[in-house]
């Protein structure tokens, strides 16, 4: 059997060149497949198709880009010129643009099909893009003719061994029944809520392999499209490794003494507290101790920029500058506005895997929650995130700001219960006691470890956090923030 007689191999996929998308598609497009990319104008269809073409052309493939739209090739290329993937040296041999508009107008679908077959052959193209399928659909007198066109294109793709991508405008939430004939349907969407908008991608159909199900975030930058597969769809299915006897301490003698066995390695913890209670210092202490133990650490923050953070913790005796300089500590700082939840997860997990990070402090769980346009997802997202963190053996502390400074009500601003995020719960609070504002530390829950349940005052000095001995007299209602001696009748 000659090479030309070999059946198309489903395992040798056509890479799209869009980071993250091949993973969603189970490896990429299936060779000789015919795919539809559907989306509203501005969704990123043309950009996606061009990105794929230049990626393939760079690898030596030849791509034919046929337009049926009013946008001129010059305008399209002008729009691509600033994109990182665009390379004018690949034109015209690697990527060849022709218009099929006039042929379609004059000769209909049969003329267009003939043009596609002939031009693919003339240019020895392995990738065909047909931009403007909706024009072909309108030119077809009826659904039967349009289905016939798609069927004949599929036959041509199989015979001539090219992979076809047909771009078309969305028609509301439903996919045309005629489109279901193709090998795959990728939908690009831009959604808006209030003043915020975000982009989503969904593989609605894919023949040849399983895909990552559901809706995935993507963004368009100078680099082109970048897809962030939904974390829940790519989570490890196997249980995390047993941390064994590995235990984690904060490196603060008076704090570690409250739970001498420490935290389980690879566990997740949550520290709750109002602004200024000391969450950042507690997390930074955890990282500083990890650095002393020779572990790589990661700080993900949303509010204080790196320099301000380093200066703040330095004033409390925690010097992290050296570790940042030599790469043992990475500070991933994200301004909280317009974050994408899966981008945050991707950044977090990528750095953990790359540098084999063992301790993580996420300073601002609420900023992560705000990055999700759909709150109904939070439970499954955090379950997946904590599963991944455990599988990587990264001991993680999340900081979460509680809105009230004082008062009897404890608000936990989470869409899911804290247990979904953390095995261990710490609580910091301001308390007014004996005419002074004091900081209070308590442990709500600690898995697999004994702990001292007493409420403790702690202070922040130039040497860091110091947890003080238990109150010498009984004090009620400390957790309300308004403490009082039993029976005193006043706070």
């Amino acid at each position: 059997m000659s090479s030309s007689e070999q059946p198309a191999r489903l395992d040798a996929r056509v890479s799209t060149g869009v980071p993250g998308l091949d993973a969603v598609m189970g490896g990429g497009l299936v060779p000789s497949g015919v795919y539809i990319v559907v989306g509203e104008p501005g969704a990123g269809k043309t950009l996606f198709a061009n990105q794929l073409c230049y990626h393939q052309a760079r690898a030596g493939a030849r791509c034919l880009y046929v337009t049926l739209l009013a946008e001129s090739h010059a305008r399209m290329l002008a729009n691509m010129r600033d994109m990182a993937f665009f390379d004018p040296a690949l034109l015209p041999e690697g990527v060849y643009y022709v218009s099929g508009f006039r042929v379609l107008e004059e000769q209909g679908l049969s003329g267009l099909l003939e043009l596609l077959r002939r031009e693919v052959r003339n240019h020895n193209a392995s990738i065909l893009v047909l931009d403007g399928l909706v024009q072909a659909q309108e030119a077809a007198g009826n659904n039967r003719d349009f289905k016939k066109f798609i069927h004949e294109l599929q036959v041509a793709a199989g015979l001539a061994r090219f992979t076809a991508l047909m771009l078309t405008s969305a028609n509301g939430p439903n996919i045309h029944p005629e489109y279901t004939m193709v090998d795959g349907i990728v939908e690009l969407r831009e959604r808006t809520a209030g003043v915020r908008s975000w982009r989503e991608l969904q593989v609605r159909k894919f023949r040849g392999s399983p895909t990552l199900a559901g809706i995935h975030a993507f963004r368009i930058t100078h680099a082109g499209l970048e897809v962030f597969p939904r974390l829940e769809a790519r989570v490890h299915r196997s249980p995390p490794p047993d941390p064994g006897a590995h235990r984690i301490h904060f490196g603060i003698h008076s704090l570690d003494a409250l739970f001498p066995e420490g935290l389980a390695g690879g566990s997740t913890s949550l520290v709750l507290g109002p602004p200024g209670a000391g969450k950042t210092l507690m997390g930074s202490s955890l990282l500083a101790e990890g650095l002393r133990q020779g572990e790589n650490c990661l700080y993900m923050g949303f509010y204080e920029p790196p320099n301000r953070l380093l200066s703040k913790v330095s004033s409390a005796g925690i010097d992290l500058k050296g570790a940042v300089a030599d790469g043992r500590l990475n500070i991933l700082w994200q301004p909280p506005a317009e974050c994408i939840l899966d981008v945050l997860a991707d950044q977090l997990l990528s750095d953990i895997r790359k540098r084999k990070v063992k301790r993580v402090f996420v300073d601002g769980l609420s900023a992560m929650q705000q990055a999700a346009p759909d709150n109904s997802r939070m439970g499954s997202f955090f379950a997946a995130l904590t599963q991944e963190l455990r599988c990587e053996g990264a001991t993680t502390l999340f900081g979460l700001e509680t809105p009230r400074l004082f008062g009897p009500v404890l608000d936990v601003p989470m869409e899911v219960g804290p247990s979904a995020v953390a095995e261990n719960l710490f609580f910091l609070r301001h308390v007014e006691y004996e005419g002074r504002l004091r900081r209070l530390f308590s442990i709500f829950k600690l898995r697999d470890s004994d702990y001292d349940p007493t409420l403790r005052e702690f202070v922040i000095t130039r040497q860091g956090i110091e947890v003080l001995p238990p109150f010498s007299v009984a004090v009620d209602t400390l957790l309300t923030g308004l403490a009082r001696h039993p029976g005193s009748g006043h706070s």
Binding site: T67, S72, H73, A74, A89, V98, G100, F101, R102, R118
Partner: protein
């Protein structure tokens, strides 16, 4: 009246160029690819062929080759492309090129220049 044959597969561009050149006083014929252009040339010999580079059926380079082979006494040629024409100018140093997108003044100047060069 001088005749210009405009060849482009993009219908909108083809019609716009034809209208502009007619307004400027040229006789204009159009074709949407190289083979159609050669058929037009059998009917009416143009003074200038203004041709796109990437086209279906018969592309710009193939059209230029056929014109040079079949019309040895000379037809003025002017190429145009959305592709970076720097490379094309290197490959075809005797053919002027317009870089798409171009403005009307540049178009008219280059058309005039190509026709004048042919006359000399």
């Amino acid at each position: 009246m001088e005749t210009v044959l405009v060849v482009d597969d993009e219908q909108g561009i083809l019609e716009a160029l034809a209208d502009l050149l007619r307004e400027e006083g040229y006789r204009v014929v159009t074709a949407s690819h190289g083979r159609e252009a050669l058929e037009r040339m059998l009917e009416l010999r143009p003074d200038l062929v203004l041709t796109d580079w990437m086209m279906p059926v018969l592309d710009g380079p193939a059209l230029i080759e056929r014109i040079r082979a079949d019309y040895k006494d000379g037809v003025a040629l002017l190429g145009m492309s959305a592709v970076d024409v720097t490379n094309l100018r290197r490959q075809y140093p005797d053919i002027p090129f317009l870089q798409k997108p171009f403005d009307i003044a540049t178009l008219m100047r280059q058309v005039r220049k190509a026709l004048d060069a042919k006359r000399r």
